[in-house]
C-alpha cells in the first residue's frame, strides 16, 4: 500500500493481476510475548502474518537461561542434583530420576529394587501431575475455564503425597544418587491406592467436559498437524510423537528403573493433530494409573539406598542416559574426568527440541491456532532455556 502506483490503476478486487496480491502487500509482523499468558512462561514468538494467516514464525528464547550446564561443572555430582528439578519444574521428579540414573550408570552402581519401585510410583504420579497441569492450562488457552479447576483440584492430591514423602511439593529433590534418601512414610501405600481410586473417575470427568465438546473439537481437530516422519526428522518425542502414530516410548524401548516389570500400553494417535495429542495424553493418564497401581501392590522389601561412597568419583568416561519424561526424551550426557565434579553435563531437553516444530505446525494456520499449538506442545520454558 505504500506504493501508490501499484494500486492506482488496478482494481482492488482483481487480486491476481499483479505478482504481489493485496494481502501480500500487507504482511504484518506481530510480536507475541514474552509476557503473554498463553506462552506458558517467557516465550517470545515473532509472527509474520498475512491477514489472519501465519506465514512464518520465529521463536526468541533464553529469557530463563540460568546456565545450568555451566553450574554443573562447578558443583559436585551430589550438589548438582537439586538443580535439575528447576529445569522442568512441573515434572521435577522425572528430571531427578534421569540425572540420578545417569550418574549411577557412570558409577556402575544400581539402585535397589525397592528404590526402583518407589521411583516408578513417584515418577508416574509426576507424569499425571504434569499432564493434568497441561490439560488445565491448554484448555484455558483455548477458552474452556472449567478443566483448570478440575485438574488443579486433583493434582493437589499428588502434591500432598509428595509433601508427605519428602517435604516439598514442586521441586522435590525426591531421589538421590543410588536410590532414595527417604523410606516411604507410614501409610504411603494407602495414600497412593486412595489416590488411584479417587482420580480414576475424575479422568472420565475431564473427558466428558472436552472430548465431544463441539467448541473443543473445532478448535483442535486438524490444527497443528505433524506427520510421523516429520516428527522423527524434527526430533520431536513424547506424546507429540505418539499422537502422530509412532509407537515409541523409552519405557518400552530401553526400559529403566523397574518399568520392564509392569504391564502398560503405549497409546498412539493417527492424525497428529492437536485433538489426537489431547487423546493420547488422556490415555497416558490412565496408563500411568495402571502402572502406579501395579507398582504399589508389589513394593519389595529391602534397603532403599544402595551402598554409595560419601564422595562420588566416577571413573573417567562418559555416559548418555535418557528417560521418558512427561514431555518426551529427557537425556543426560555426562563426561567424567575422574574428579568429584562432572567435567561436562549436557541436558537434552524435550521441550527445547519439541518447540522447534512450532514453525512447521503453525504455518498456514490462524493466529488463534498458534496459542493452541504452543499449548499442545506442552513446553516448559525453564527447560527450554535451562
Amino acid at each position: 500500500m505504500s506504493d501508490p502506483t501499484r494500486t492506482a490503476g488496478a482494481s482492488h478486487l482483481d487480486l491476481d493481476e499483479r505478482e504481489h496480491t493485496f494481502l501480500d502487500a500487507n504482511e504484518l509482523v506481530l510480536n507475541m510475548g514474552p509476557q503473554h499468558p498463553s506462552t506458558h512462561g517467557v516465550l517470545r514468538v515473532i509472527l509474520k502474518l498475512d491477514g489472519e494467516k501465519v506465514r512464518g514464525t520465529e521463536c526468541v528464547i533464553g529469557y530463563l537461561h540460568r546456565g545450568v550446564e555451566k553450574i554443573a561443572e562447578n558443583r559436585t555430582y551430589t550438589m548438582f542434583n537439586p538443580y535439575v528439578d528447576r529445569m522442568d519444574y512441573v515434572a521435577a521428579v522425572s528430571n531427578g530420576l534421569g540425572y540420578c540414573e545417569a550418574v549411577e550408570k557412570l558409577l556402575n552402581i544400581e539402585a535397589p529394587p525397592r528404590a526402583n519401585y518407589v521411583r516408578v510410583i513417584l515418577t508416574e504420579l509426576n507424569r499425571l501431575a504434569s499432564h493434568m497441569l497441561w490439560l488445565g492450562t491448554h484448555a484455558l488457552d483455548i477458552g474452556a475455564i472449567t478443566p483448570l479447576f478440575y485438574t488443579f483440584r486433583d493434582r493437589e492430591e499428588i502434591l500432598k503425597i509428595y509433601e508427605k514423602y519428602c517435604g516439598a511439593r514442586l521441586t522435590t529433590h525426591a531421589f538421590r544418587i543410588g536410590g532414595c534418601q527417604y523410606e516411604t512414610y507410614d501409610g504411603f501405600e494407602t495414600d497412593v491406592r486412595k489416590f488411584v481410586t479417587f482420580v480414576t473417575p475424575k479422568i472420565d470427568e475431564y473427558e466428558e467436559l472436552l472430548t465431544t465438546n463441539r467448541i473443543w473439537v473445532e478448535r483442535t481437530k486438524g490444527v497443528g498437524v505433524l506427520s510421523g516422519p516429520d516428527c522423527i526428522d524434527l526430533g520431536v518425542t513424547g506424546p507429540v510423537l505418539r499422537a502422530s502414530g509412532v509407537k515409541w516410548d523409552i519405557r518400552k524401548a530401553k526400559p529403566y528403573a523397574a518399568y520392564s516389570q509392569f504391564q502398560f500400553e503405549i497409546p498412539t494417535g493417527q492424525n497428529g493433530d492437536t485433538y489426537d495429542r489431547y487423546l493420547v495424553r488422556i490415555a497416558e493418564l490412565r496408563q500411568s494409573l495402571r502402572i502406579v497401581s501395579q507398582a504399589v501392590e508389589g513394593i519389595p522389601e529391602g534397603p532403599i539406598m544402595a551402598k554409595v561412597p560419601k564422595v562420588l568419583k566416577p571413573p573417567v568416561g562418559e555416559i548418555y542416559h535418557s528417560i521418558e519424561a512427561p514431555k518426551g526424551e529427557l537425556g543426560y550426557f555426562i563426561v567424567s574426568d575422574g574428579s568429584t565434579q562432572p567435567y561436562r553435563v549436557r541436558v537434552r531437553p524435550p521441550s527445547f527440541v519439541n518447540l522447534q516444530a512450532l514453525d512447521k505446525m503453525v504455518r498456514g494456520q490462524l493466529v488463534a491456532d498458534v496459542v493452541a499449538v504452543i499449548g499442545t506442545l506442552d513446553i516448559v520454558l525453564g527447560e527450554v532455556d535451562r
Binding site: 555451566k70 556402575n108 526428522d233 526430533g235 555416559i319 535418557s322 574428579s339
Partner: protein
C-alpha cells in the same frame, strides 16, 4: 553463593571438603593423625611400603571394549583411517570420526543404517588437547532400537559440517553449540546465538570462560564499583 571455576582455587569457606583441589597439595602437608607415628618410626624401620602393593588391585572398573559390528566394518571399509576409535563403554557405543569425512559417515548412517533420529548434538571442550573441541552427535534408530554416538575433534577455529540437511532437528541444536562453544557449522542456514543475547561476549561453556571474572566485569561496568569477589 559465588560460582567457582575449576581452575580457580580461590579459597572459599563454603567450599565442600570433598573437592580434590586442596588434597593435591596434601601429601607434603602433614595430616593430623599420621605425622607423629611417622616421625617416630623412621629410625626403627625403613620399609613402610609393603602396605602399598595390595592397594593397586582395585576392583577393575568398566573399560572401553572394541565395538565390533558389521556397520563399523562397513564404515571402516569406506572411510579407512577416517574412522578412528570405535568402542563400547558401559554398553554404549561410540566412534571417533575424522572431521573431513564425518558428514559422509553421518550421511551413510542416516541413509543406509536408518539412524533417522538425531537425539542430540553437543560438544565438549578440552583446552589441553591440540584439537580442543569434541562435537558429539547422538543418533538413534527406531528400527534397530540402537543408540550410538559419533564424535569428531576440531581445532580452534575449525568448523564442523552442519547436518541440518540430514536431520532438521540439528538446526537449533547446532545453534546452541555455537552459542555455548563458538563452534561454527558449515552450511547451517541460520547460525546465530539462541539462548544468550545477540551482543553477548564470549562462549560460556568453554573451560576458560570464568564466571567470576564475568561477574566482576559486569559489576565494574554497570555499577562502577569493585564486586568484592
Amino acid at each position: 553463593m559465588p560460582d567457582e571455576t575449576k581452575g580457580n582455587t580461590s579459597p572459599d569457606k563454603d567450599q565442600q571438603p570433598a573437592p580434590q583441589a586442596p588434597s593435591s597439595s596434601a601429601p607434603s602437608a602433614p595430616k593430623p593423625g599420621t605425622p607423629p607415628a611417622q616421625a617416630a618410626k623412621p629410625p626403627v624401620t625403613v620399609p613402610p611400603k609393603p602396605a602399598a602393593p595390595p592397594a593397586p588391585p582395585k576392583p577393575a572398573g568398566p573399560v572401553p571394549l572394541p565395538w565390533e559390528s558389521e556397520m563399523v566394518s562397513q564404515l571402516k571399509q569406506r572411510f579407512g583411517s577416517g574412522i578412528g576409535d570405535a568402542s563400547t563403554y558401559l554398553g554404549q557405543s561410540y566412534m571417533v570420526v575424522d572431521r573431513s569425512v564425518v558428514y559422509d559417515a553421518l550421511q551413510q548412517l542416516h541413509d543406509e543404517e536408518e539412524f533417522n533420529y538425531l537425539v542430540d548434538c553437543t560438544a565438549t571442550h578440552y583446552p589441553q588437547r591440540p584439537q580442543p573441541f569434541e562435537v558429539i552427535w547422538i543418533l538413534y534408530s527406531f528400527k534397530r532400537n540402537e543408540r550410538i554416538r559419533v564424535k569428531t575433534m576440531l581445532a580452534e577455529g575449525e568448523a564442523a559440517p552442519s547436518v541440518v540437511p540430514l536431520w532438521s532437528t540439528a538446526n537449533w541444536l547446532e545453534r546452541e553449540v555455537y552459542d555455548m562453544f563458538g563452534i561454527r557449522f558449515d552450511g547451517h542456514p541460520d547460525l546465530r546465538r539462541i539462548l544468550l543475547p545477540e551482543d553477548w561476549k564470549g562462549f560460556p561453556l568453554r573451560k576458560d570462560h570464568s564466571i567470576i571474572q564475568q561477574d566482576q566485569e559486569w559489576v565494574q561496568i554497570n555499577l562502577g564499583i569493585e564486586s568484592g569477589q
